[in-house]
Subunit: 206 residues, 2 copies
Amino acid sequence: MPRPSTPLLNRARIRSHALAMVDAAGLGGLSMRKLAGELGVQAPSLYTHYRTKDELLQDIADDIMSTVDVSDFATDWAAGVRTWARSYRAAMAAHPNMVPVIASGPARRETALARADAVHGGLVRAGWPPRYATMIGASTKYLVLGAAMSSFSRGFEDDVQVYVDRYPHLDQAHRLRDHADEIDADSFELALDAFIHGLTALRATL
Amino acid sequence: MPRPSTPLLNRARIRSHALAMVDAAGLGGLSMRKLAGELGVQAPSLYTHYRTKDELLQDIADDIMSTVDVSDFATDWAAGVRTWARSYRAAMAAHPNMVPVIASGPARRETALARADAVHGGLVRAGWPPRYATMIGASTKYLVLGAAMSSFSRGFEDDVQVYVDRYPHLDQAHRLRDHADEIDADSFELALDAFIHGLTALRATL
DNA sequence: ACCTGAACACCGTTCAAGT
DNA sequence: ACCTGAACACCGTTCAAGT
């Protein structure tokens, strides 16, 4: 009997199911065997399409990073940084469990390099010395990835009662799970504002 | 024959060897079996001292975090933030492979709570509204952990030649491995300066 | 080209047993 | 209390074999 004309698997289908598993159950919840099972196939079949699990994860990371927007560097550097940082953070927030992969992945792919070039070029065209352009790019990444890591792993757990009385300055109303997303978003905006404000002041002295 | 008066294992010895393994070979290089082997013991013996591998890692994370300095919040808030951020970053830089563990660990332990309380209290005493104190604490953590993640995973790899010509704005002199530590340190200081500068300006408007 | 079954070399952890 | 041997339920990956 002839094999079906379309293969059971393809890279897009593998990525989509893998990402769904990571979103639902964390990075630890993804295994090649379980992924294969959900795709109706045996684990070794996946290796026809991806050479390693890491290559699969990096490919998913690339998909996620493709939504990052560096177009505003064409306008002015501050708007460029702001839009870049916000869209970068939004991409992380959409798939928080992928943050460690994205943060640790080598930024070698064409698209990643093109983005880095747009950032660096935008800052240099705006008059920042190349070394400052590098540092501003790095700093912005710190802020985005740090914020993403924090939301990846909620710092304070559910059992607030344990420490409520003991540490009077820890106003738990600002710490509860319910508010964590809002606090994260506001803290990120505060940091981004203060950072760009400080850079603008520095820019005037160069 | 009587057993030796001192046990082969204790928590401090386990932590110390485990941390050495993580420093040398990364988080993936630490397994309970290999750790036991290096301690001259079988893997299950470790479970007499630590209930899980994660508990062991969290305990090591606590050790590392104990070097973080929040004492300058007694002076003024800006000095407090600066010293806190720098000592925090130094702690991460000493054991970069532990960063994901520290970043993802729930900050529930007594010492972690005491530190968070010192930060929050110091900012509130300096006149920051509690909500701002929370956000400034969170933002500073973003910066430190983001910077630590970046150095945990060097963004650009060794094979610079691949992209040198293609992306003219990526001046690889600023990207090479040799300079990565310096760039990281300078970028962190730049971001910290700009952040505190921006906060100081904001503080005047409240 | 695509998929499978069996296998290799690992994991974290449990548990009954020994001292 | 502390340590061991054997075992359970997993991993990522390879490879010969099938279609």
